[in-house]
Amino acid sequence: MKKINKLIPAACLLALASCGGSGSSASGGGGTRPADDPREEMQAAEGTYKAILRPYNFTVAGWIPNGMTDIKITGHMIEVKSWLDDAANVVHMQNIHLGTECPTIANDSNGDGFVDFNESVQVSKQILLHLDADIESQSEISVYPKGNFTYFQTASLSSLIPLNLEGKVIIVTGAAANRGLPATVSQINNQTREFSIPIACGVIERMPEIANN
């Protein structure tokens, strides 16, 4: 099982990729300390879960982003579907975090008008699961969707760290590259501020069981 509580700088793999150089390897990016240990998480119960992804830092996005994530756990499998609508045709990092609250403007501790990634993880805590192109491996390389996206992935729970999804939060990052954020906005490792800034968040809720469904 791979450790997923650390982020290291990006590598340049694809022609479309932006490259980041070496940077800090602080948990959650940018030097924040993990608040909880994901290994202490309980196994997720079977069922369906939903998170409504609602905007925050909405003025940084090309359009008021919004989306939805549906998660189904059946037996030893986890299935994740999500979508996000946002006019900014940029890469959107989406991750499940250990925290149980979405950040608000009250978490803008440096008062620059933006709740950046470092400020967000004070509330949303460290990353529990990367919702990238290969959930199962949680490999060293994360490839995330771009623009208005539809995302679908399945994985075996046995390949992941124990998950207790209910109440956890999903955070999506990524604003237009030409947004021009101030230097006070934190960066995830050496990624751009625009890549790093959160734009949407949702709390995962367990949905009631529906008979014959």
Partner: protein, 275 residues
Amino acid sequence: MKKIIVSCLMLTALPAVADVVTSTIHSVEKVKNNYLVKFENGRVAFVSNQNKMFGVQNLHALKGARVEAKLGSDYSLQSIQSIESAPENVKSLPSFEIVEPPTYEPTVIPSLAEANKIFKRLNPNYKRASECSNRAHVWASEEFKKNNIKSMKVFALFTASYIDRVRFKWWYHVAPMFAVNEDGRIERRVMDYMFNHHPVTVKEWTDQFVFSKRPCLPTTRFSEYDVNPQTEDCYLMDGTMYDWTPTDLSNRELQGRYKTDFSQGEIRAAYSEAF
């Protein structure tokens, strides 16, 4: 150790395609260097003054017609054609009555905690790219049907100058609004489940869409918005839970037609489009 690759998930990401808007044209308005085509469903298309492809007269002639319009990623109008009239389930709308302005008293929710409970039970199963008027109508009607709670609607009507200035996508936005008793004061709280985590004040709600953060000017007359001198960014109008789109607000003023019940045709249409 985890590396973040700034790349796209090519297999599952949708390409940036032009929107297709199927709706009735509400109006065509000139502003600076553009004409704005406003659709009943709230969307806006931009037509440059320099654009020779669409004759302004032709666009005006389509007012009230049901059309299919293709929009570019910058919301510019790429093509437009009239299609058949409204679906059957929206055609027969029996809920209008020509009456004096009826008294409408929304239910007062006893506390903010109770309002939060209402918010959390709103139907989360809306479709992607659904229309705000349809989501709001379903949320309001379900809360009335299941819990006998009478809510209001709040309409934010964005002026042509604001739409043109920030290249805004909508000309109106609507959400259910509830009267909430907060420590003895009756406050208005907007429940826009798609965009907020909890009930919010009207100003908090409009601040999300009015990037200047200017307050929207409240009015009781739709015409004040329609013929506004473009000095405001946005107007605010209250509706009852029965009101569906700004046309209902206009009908109140121009025709004295007030809705006094839910139209089942509208409810069906709202479910069909949004859930």
